[in-house]
Amino acid sequence: MKGLASALIIALIVVAIFSNLLVLVKETNQDVFNALKAIGGHHWTGHGIVTTIVFIAFTVIAYYGYASRKEINPYKLAIVAATVLIIMSLAVVGFFASLS
């Protein structure tokens, strides 16, 4: 798979990891929590706005920096994306379970 689809899947992997790290940071650091609140009026809205910027930025970076020039095995990329999404979701559950 070459081009935009690969870049989008790479950006998806980055967003899944970034969004999770942002959860950990904002829930343990009040300054980050307040900064996200200032961006969107509510921390969740700010979280959504920041991840949207990250997704678009990494799609562009992945496309022009790599995906438009190299052939990437689509199945390997899809396996990485699915695995990252599942592990990150389990990590979110584990994090909030540890806080409760």
Binding site: M1, L4, A5, L8, I9, A11, L12, V15, A16, S19, N20, V23, G41, H42, W44, T45, H47, G48, T51, F55, N73, P74, Y75, L77, A78, I79, A81, A82, L85, I86, M88, S89, V92, V93, F96, A97, L99, S100
Partner: protein, 161 residues
């Protein structure tokens, strides 16, 4: 008294989330059947899916920031505080990458020609991504039910009903 904000907000959120899942299920079904025989339908689905996703995101987000704080306070006083502490906290955060997975799938539906989707390796990859989307939908749906039960048990405990 009927509160249309709450009722329409939740109803629209759930309905459009379900429509997103039905669209992805239909796409996976076509890919599993082996041959893409309705490429125009897939393109239309690729246009509809982001619309469904955005409506799901905006209606759910609006309801969450406007009305959920009251439910949250109630849940935390009730017998199932985990419905918020684990259920809603997880739901609201795994929703964000799930939205972007849906966007990636819709772009693939819209941009990929039938011959590309018929390529076995591409087909297998897109089925895997679609299945991950549906797994996320089921988990988020389950957590939505968990939150609703959290509110219900809290009301029951607090009013003695």
């Amino acid at each position: 008294m009927v509160n249309l904000g709450i009722e329409l907000g939740v109803g629209i959120h759930v309905t459009f989330a379900l429509l997103s899942a039905i669209t992805v299920s239909g796409f996976i079904g076509m890919l599993l059947s082996g041959q893409i025989i309705k490429p125009r339908l897939i393109k239309a689905m690729g246009l509809l899916l982001p619309v469904f996703l955005v409506i799901t995101y905006v209606s759910g987000g609006w309801w969450y920031v406007t009305y959920y704080p009251q439910d949250k306070a109630l849940i935390l006083k009730g017998p199932l505080p985990e419905a918020h502490e684990i259920g809603m906290e997880t739901k609201e955060h795994i929703f964000i990458p799930g939205f972007w997975l849906g966007v990636v799938l819709s772009i693939i539906m819209f941009l990929f020609p039938a011959e590309k989707l018929n390529d076995p390796l591409v087909r297998k990859s897109v089925i895997l991504l679609g299945a991950t989307f549906l797994l996320g939908f089921v988990i988020i749906d389950f957590l939505g039910g968990y939150v609703a039960i959290g509110v219900k048990t809290a009301l029951k405990a607090l009013t003695g009903g």
